[in-house]
């Protein structure tokens, strides 16, 4: 990847400095008089800045930081300034737990906007409940807002189930009814397979087979060689970053375009079509937010433009340093900060003691498309604190990404399996 590696050093240095500055951001940036006598509101960021999920964590952190700057420029929340402390969860659960505690106990943050790592989310849930701090995570495991979550957790990102439903609903008509899934042999991959299978069957298709490969497999050919391309219309890939790249390339080498390849945004997140080469041609996938500004729905474009400018992403989806952004994910951290803003405004929250009211104000909250919520309209469902929004289906054609379809949120909801509103806070 021509952009990433030489710039990798500058990502790390930049994020250093950002982290260090944010970490010591106890000092007010402006003269006190501008801010009145109220204490600032402290937001803690628990992001995977290093390790395998770094591409998502780094941009999540940047989006959070930009959101906070923007809100402060607007005069803060109810006249109170926002402060931000970020910690690196290192794509590691033990570290995620430790940093969660540190943010809450040492830095005494009022809210935590947390990681894309589902394990970290699930481990942080009991801590949020115990310390009575509201936690926003953007990992995609379904259980985080089902049996493993609680009333203190919110998720401003759609989960595996929604993604696969959008993919199947969007694809079953246009591409064929015979689906095959190959996914990473860990929790996330199995979710991909399970959710795909469910919706394919619901929509009149057949699941021809499923095959799992361990993470980090250097060679997927053993797992692909059993496939008969004449018996399959669509292959769903449940991998991301390196494994996605490997398997896409190898599918191309083995089947040379005979089979249609699809998956969620993991197939391309953090990469460009050029990186994948000819193997990428024809791949289509579901995403939450388009890379290319032109593909954003017309009514959202003005918000998108401003949003990109503030976070530092250009119209093609690249960062200022030339790195590929994970824009498909980082809208969630941006919007997490804004849920906090709206929750405080609607409930009259003054301190953590008022969290119960805050939580109730967000349950069932319908966000309107705006600079605060540039991804579009949202529903934050009361029973499971899970957000529902529209999805995009994108495709690589002639080396470029093209949007094929918008899947409205009504088509991708599902029944709530839990009811957090019954939990006492």
């Amino acid at each position: 990847m021509s952009q990433t590696a030489p710039r990798a050093r500058s990502i790390t240095r930049k994020q250093f400095l950002t982290g260090a500055t944010a970490g010591t951001a106890a000092v007010a940036l402006g003269p006190r008089s501008l801010w009145g006598q109220d204490k600032p509101i402290k937001i803690g960021g628990q992001y995977c800045l290093t390790g395998g999920l770094a591409p998502f964590g780094v941009w999540g952190h940047r989006a959070t930081e930009a959101a906070i700057k923007k809100i402060n420029a607007e005069g803060g929340i109810k006249g109170r300034k926002l402060e931000y402390v970020v910690e690196d969860s290192e794509t590691n659960v033990q570290t995620g737990i430790r940093k969660m505690r540190k943010l809450i106990e040492k830095d005494e943050v009022d809210f935590v906007v947390g990681s894309v790592h589902s394990g970290v989310n699930i481990a942080s849930a009991p801590i949020a409940q115990e310390t009575k701090v509201v936690y926003f995570g953007f990992g995609t495991a379904v259980e985080t807002t089902e049996e493993k979550g609680n009333r203190w957790i919110f998720r401003g990102m759609t989960n595996m189930r929604t993604h696969m439903k959008a993919l199947v609903v969007g694809g079953i008509g246009r591409l064929g009814k015979r689906w095959y899934t190959t996914a990473a042999d860990y929790a996330w991959g199995h979710s991909v397979a399970a959710e795909t299978a469910r919706f394919v069957k619901e929509n009149g298709g057949t699941v021809v087979g499923e095959k799992f490969a361990p993470l980090g497999t250097p060679d997927f050919i053993p797992y692909l060689s059993g496939l008969n391309p004449d018996a399959i219309d669509v292959i769903v890939i449940g991998f991301f970053t390196r494994d996605a790249r490997t398997i896409i390339t190898q599918i191309h080498q083995l089947f040379g375009g005979k089979v249609r390849v699809t998956g969620n945004v993991g197939v391309i997140a953090g990469m460009t079509p050029k990186d994948l080469g000819p193997a990428a041609e024809g791949i289509w996938y579901v995403t939450q937010y388009p890379h290319v500004a032109e593909h954003v729905r017309p009514e959202l474009r003005s918000f998108d433009r401003e949003y990109r400018k503030l976070v530092g992403i250009d119209a093609q989806g690249f960062g200022a340093d030339g790195s590929v952004s994970t824009i498909s994910f980082c809208y969630a951290p941006w919007e997490h900060v804004h849920y906090i803003k709206h929750g405080i405004e609607r409930s009259g929250w003054k301190s953590k003691k008022d969290n119960p009211g805050f939580i109730q104000a967000l349950e069932g909250f319908q966000a309107k498309a705006s600079l605060d919520f540039p991804q579009g309209d949202k529903l934050l469902r009361a029973q499971d604190h899970q957000v529902f929004h529209d999805q995009y289906i994108e495709r690589v054609e002639n080396g470029k990404i093209v949007v094929k379809e918008y899947v409205p949120k009504e088509k991708v909801t599902y029944e709530a399996k839990v009811d957090y509103t019954k939990e006492k806070v």
């Binding site: 590696a5 395998g52 042999d185 059993g226 970053t241 040379g256």
Partner: protein
């Protein structure tokens, strides 16, 4: 005859990866046979080989250059690391394990700083596929197997026929006598460590176009390397090659019938069984 094509494909593929694994494992076992050091950082040297290839492919557009240059550079790096970190504690075998563990930390993190966290790929130098039982099989992979076989064969001849090779075998049997006879044992140890590192890097160079390059890709292979080296018989040339091929073929074939977790567990348990039944593994004397 549904699964015959799949079986053939697996056998061919297992053959290819078996030879790559043999290359990596020989690098480790050569070092162990002579120095009694198990280099935990061996996988990181494999990663460096792949990263070097990626770098040269980007900068100079050539994979072939990398085939020659990268193993050499990494071999020198390995030699340097040996002199600084391993030789000072060579008198205590367990200490060398710890020292190479420290090297692993350093190597892997340096790789991260140079290469970044994201994966990348190296284009196939030979982008042709041939039909194989109804599927298309990349020719490059067959090339890889050929290169590995040639190198391993050359290595065997080298150890048998040259002065250096004789010195290595002599020193392995009785260091004191070898030194007394004027064989430069210390130099041989250092050179061998460098050679082992170069072999690991060569494996990385060959593997780079058929897998993804990432800073921590050493983790994928290091366990398999250990297992092969142990079951093949520490220090045994032939045993290592045989077990490498056996392991990859076993994995490939189990993948047809079982899910990956199970086939991984099966091959691991097969290795444990081999280890217990024949405590010396397949000690085929080279």
């Amino acid at each position: 005859m549904g699964f015959l094509p799949e079986l053939v494909l697996q056998l061919v593929n297992g053959f290819v990866w078996g030879w790559i694994l043999a290359l990596l494992a020989l690098g480790l076992t050569l070092v162990f046979g002579l120095l009694e050091v198990i280099n935990i950082a061996h996988g990181a040297l494999y990663a460096f080989g792949a990263i070097g290839t990626w770098y040269l492919a980007r900068k100079l557009g050539s994979f072939w250059l990398s085939l020659l240059v990268t193993p050499l550079v990494v071999g020198v790096l390995g030699l340097g690391a040996y002199l600084i970190a391993v030789r000072p504690v060579a008198s205590t075998p367990i200490a060398t394990v710890i020292a190479t563990f420290g090297l692993l930390f350093i190597f892997q993190h340096v790789a991260l700083l140079i290469f970044g966290p994201n994966p990348s790929s190296v284009p196939l130098p030979i982008d042709v596929s041939i039909p194989l039982m109804g599927r298309m099989y990349p020719v490059y992979r067959l090339f890889v197997a050929a290169v590995a076989m040639v190198v391993i064969g050359g290595l065997w001849l080298f150890l048998r026929k040259t002065n250096y090779g004789t010195w290595v075998r002599a020193t392995q049997q009785d260091r004191e006598t070898a030194v007394a006879m004027g064989i430069p044992a210390a130099k041989i140890y250092a050179l061998t460590f460098g050679l082992g590192s170069a072999l690991a890097a060569l494996g990385g160079v060959l593997a780079a176009p058929i897998t993804s390059v990432q800073f921590n890709m050493g983790i994928d292979v290091i366990i398999d390397i250990f297992i092969v080296v142990i079951a093949g018989g520490l220090g045994s040339f032939g045993g290592t090659v045989v077990v490498s091929l056996f392991l990859r073929e076993l994995e490939g074939i189990s993948a047809i019938f079982f899910n990956p977790v199970l086939s991984k567990a099966i091959s691991l348990m097969a290795m444990v069984a081999i280890l217990l039944v024949r405590k010396e593994g397949f000690a085929v004397k080279a």
